[in-house]
């Protein structure tokens, strides 16, 4: 290895960072056991801080899998996804994927992790007033027939969704309650979990798959008309017409919609 004196500061920092990230890496030339002892402190602090930061977001998931399994998973995540961003919150990004890879026999773990991640995102999402049914009614009163088909919606910042195969809502509530017993968390049919923010509080609901698809489409910029066509394919004409209205009503009632455009 080249002597430290001939390295630029940038090169020294790259080497120092590599030392922090990899505790097997050979020490640079000229470093003494005293340097090694110092580096140990930086390595430990780095790992401990990130494992704790991930736990801040995934508190219930950590409780669900147990402390030892959580620590192993978080340590694995930190090694495979060393943080790049200045915000420590991002250290927790992608952890549900890591959970999916590690807990293949317990797929509810990754779903629960996703729920906690989404609620954490919603917690600090931009502030916005949801549109209520009355306000929507005012806008829609001026709609011509064809405006309904071309209507597009925007949703509250922080709105997220995921197809789920376990009742993670039940799990989430039980894990927040010291007294609660482990609930039955299988689902008879897959659902979608939707997360958004009500005032300053992140909330979620579990809805049927067709509603999840409808939301996914409209969040992606599809028109109400396109959404209705998809509902017809899934549910048949008669049910689709009733459901399209019911879904829109539910989103308004729950305060998911930020604005409407014809």
């Amino acid at each position: 290895m080249i002597a430290a004196q001939t390295l630029t500061l940038a090169e020294k920092q790259q080497e120092f960072m590599a030392q922090v990230l990899d505790d097997e890496r050979a020490l640079p030339d000229g470093w003494t056991p005293r340097h090694a002892a110092g580096m140990d402190i930086y390595r430990n602090a780095y790992r401990a801080r990130l494992v704790d930061a991930v736990r801040d977001t995934y508190e219930r998931t950590a409780k669900w899998v147990g402390e030892d399994a959580y620590r192993q998973a978080a340590a694995h995540h930190v090694i495979t996804h060393p943080p790049k961003s200045w915000t420590l919150d991002h250290a927790a990004d992608g952890f549900p994927e890591t959970l999916r890879e590690l807990f293949t026999n317990n797929p509810e773990v990754a779903e629960l992790g996703w729920l906690e991640w989404a609620m954490h995102q919603a917690f600090v999402a931009a502030d916005a007033e949801p549109m209520d049914a009355a306000k929507f009614g005012e806008v829609a009163a001026s709609f011509a027939e064809e405006d309904w088909a071309s209507m597009r919606l925007t949703f509250l910042p922080g709105t997220e969704q995921l197809p789920i195969t376990h009742d993670i809502g039940k799990l989430w509530r039980a894990l927040g309650d010291e007294q609660a017993e482990t609930p039955e968390f299988t689902l008879e049919q897959p659902l979608h979990c939707i997360v958004w923010r009500e005032g300053f509080k992140p909330v979620f609901m579990q809805v049927e798959q067709h509603e999840g698809h409808a939301l996914e489409m409209m969040r992606g910029g599809a028109s109400y008309g396109e959404m209705c066509e998809t509902l017809i394919e899934i549910l048949g004409e008669e049910r689709a017409v009733a459901e399209a209205g019911a879904i829109l009503g539910r989103w308004l009632h729950n305060g998911l919609i930020a604005s409407v455009e014809k």
Partner: protein, 287 residues
């Protein structure tokens, strides 16, 4: 013209002085509901550099009650790769929104262009590093449109290539960039022990007229002491604080506690101790 810049001291009363605490989540309710007897609070800037939501709302409510200092941990003023534009932009947005007494960060580096350690990593004290740090400070102060404070860090190793002491580095940095100093007395104590230098030499070597704030904190003992902010301030740090306060002009003093955070009254008692020591030190002739 009379301005009231708490940094330059261009006001009738001189630079801002007083005693404060860090605003931490566990004490949000105390600060929102009660009249907590502090002169200011210090917040970790990054916790509020978010789009919206409850933390920002609470910060604004506390700000309506008292002055706020923004203390950052992620500027990475010593990064050879330069400063992160997105970070500076968000920091400025928060400063414009909160109107803090001042904005501070640490003399250290935290990131390369590829990775972020989320830790305060040590700089070699070389002329190359000094030039780089001064360029970065100029960039940060110009972007923010205000002078900043930089804090001496705790460190756990020094480098074979060091060309000057930490205090010589800090003195030159402050002189060249016009930045002010945040003197962390615990960090002096910890680093003096870890690297075998004299804490008093450190104090004597600094341009003390540039110090606008003092940090006090607890650390973890060992062959290498670690800056953990998880226990009360120790006697050795109180002694060093008393010595520092005999030499310093008006400054803001605050106690940092980030782990094993006790109920607020306990921290207020510790802060009271700081106020008493400061008062006693002032009565003595400058050392």
């Amino acid at each position: 013209m009379t301005t009231s810049d708490p940094l330059t001291g261009n006001s009738v009363s001189g630079p801002f002085s007083g005693f404060g605490l860090g605003l931490r989540r566990t004490h949000y309710q105390d600060f929102l509901e009660g009249d907590v007897a502090v002169d200011f609070v210090e917040v970790i800037s990054e916790n509020y550099m978010v789009e919206g939501g409850n933390p920002l709302r609470i910060l604004e409510q506390v700000r309506a009650k008292m002055p706020v200092i923004m203390h950052g941990v992620s500027m990475s003023i010593g990064s050879a790769d330069g400063l992160d534009r997105d970070y500076l932009k968000k920091l400025k947005q928060l400063a414009d929104r909160i109107d803090p007494l001042w904005v501070s960060d640490h003399l250290c580096w935290t990131r390369t262009s590829a990775h972020n350690s989320h830790d305060l990593l040590p700089l070699p004290y070389t002329h190359e590093a000094l030039d780089l740090v001064c360029d970065n400070i100029d960039h940060a102060q110009n972007t923010l449109g205000r002078s900043m404070l930089f804090e001496n860090p705790s460190s756990y190793m020094t480098f074979p290539e060091d060309e000057m002491t930490e205090w010589e580095f800090i003195a030159a940095m402050s002189m060249r960039t016009g930045c002010y100093l945040l003197l962390d007395v615990n960090n002096i104590y910890v680093s003096a022990h870890n690297h075998g230098f004299s804490a008093e030499a450190f104090l004597n070597g600094l341009p003390l007229d540039r110090v606008r704030q003092v940090h006090l904190a607890g650390h973890t003992d060992g062959e290498i002491k670690i800056d953990t902010h998880d226990q009360p301030v120790c006697d050795g740090v109180w002694d060093l604080y008393a010595k520092a306060m005999r030499k310093l002009g008006p400054v803001a003093t605050m106690i940092e506690r980030d782990d094993s955070i006790p109920p607020l009254p306990e921290l207020l008692e510790e802060l009271d101790m700081a106020a008493k020591i400061a008062e006693r030190s002032r009565e003595l002739e400058p050392a």
